[in-house]
Assembly symmetry: C2
DNA sequence: CTACTAACGGGATGGGAGTCCCGTTAGGCG
DNA sequence: CGCCTAACGGGACTCCCATCCCGTTAGTAG
């Protein structure tokens, strides 16, 4: 038994354990939507989930831990990227999905909460990094395909282009706190695409 | 005396009151750098500032209130924008100043804290909006001048270009949590500029 | 220089969140 | 189908933070 069972919920992940996790994560998200990360407490989570307070502490340790786990859960629900054979349409699909996520009351609030948690907790920061870099890599493939089709210059950095297109939307969401519209998503795509066609996403030798 | 003195510190703003504010805001920033917004409490601020706890509550009300006031203070220290007569150089100066702010231990941590506070408090959110839209407007003038000089297409939206250049840096800082380098700032400028030259920042009719 | 009062400070109070102990429940193997 | 123990739950305990009351200090008008 040396150093086993460091993490509760790993030996008997079935049945009750899984139900508890689902209830806790849902309660966490509810509270995040309603009060934001700052208003999230272990106490409330346990109460709303109908679960013992001890359980929440044992399995998640802290509120950033809860948020990090929630992020991991959302990562698993991540929908696959589009691939229509037309870069502009693919990139627009990406931008629109970001816009929808950011605009959606539940998902948008959750994203903001995770971002807030990331500023003060390493585990939450890791969860963010993993979630987004993975998503970026997935979408970068549509750029790679476009390069192969000759729609964009050879050597165009797909990940950077995806980042450049998403960035202004998140920037508006959390930094300048301006409303984010579908038009912003569309403009972001056309700007990124214009720069890409000009070869601005091809790394210098 | 009707409804006067709603805000303490407005009738006798000299001497002690000013010293208290300076001490409190500095203590606030210290704690933000060390523990992040989540670890900021009125108690600690008062203790570190060497000030009565009651005073902090009376004048700022809550931790988001402290952060919002700190943001306003930083806004007043905002340095004026460059204007060298060359768009690329001006925009690079802007991007580099963002990079420096974001990279600087004290200022970077403070920015992240304010962003975190903005996710759960309307006053902090307002402070953010005001701070950034003002900064964006200031820098947008260098774009307007470049348009007048014929360096960029007629009708180019300066504010949007400034946003597009800053966004990827903040995106890396708080969303994907990747390291932000000077190279990122440089690339962001050349990409924004490429799109601008292609007319992607000219609004459709 | 003096009076008036804005603004500050100390300290008591209450409540809520984090931690711990131990009894109870139920998943999973034989 | 029954045992073993992983995992959960209740409740007591502690500590820290928000709030409040009232006495003290020091700007500022005259």
């Amino acid at each position: 038994m040396e150093q086993a069972s460091r993490l509760a919920g790993t030996v008997r992940p079935g049945g009750r354990t899984a139900r508890v996790r689902a209830a806790v994560l849902e309660a966490t998200q509810d509270i995040l939507v309603e009060y934001g990360f700052h208003g999230l407490t272990m106490d409330q989570v346990a109460a709303r989930a109908g679960v013992g307070k001890t359980t929440v502490y044992r399995r998640w340790g802290s509120t950033p831990g809860l948020v990090a786990d929630l992020m991991k859960e959302l990562a698993n629900q991540s929908s696959p990227h589009a691939d229509t054979g037309d870069v502009e349409r693919d990139l627009l699909a990406n931008a629109v999905s970001v816009w929808e996520a950011v605009t959606d009351g539940r998902l948008g609030a959750t994203l903001q909460a995770v971002i807030a948690a990331g500023t003060c907790d390493e585990e939450a920061a890791d969860a963010l990094r993993v979630f987004f870099t993975r998503r970026i890599d997935e979408w970068a493939t549509v750029v790679d395909l476009a390069v192969k089709r000759g729609e964009l210059p050879e050597g165009t950095d797909g990940g950077e282009l995806i980042r450049a297109i998403s960035a202004p939307l998140y920037y508006r969401l959390v930094v300048t706190r301006e409303p984010v519209t579908r038009g912003d998503a569309e403009r972001s795509v056309s700007r990124g695409l214009a720069a890409a066609r000009a070869g601005a996403f091809v790394p210098d030798p």
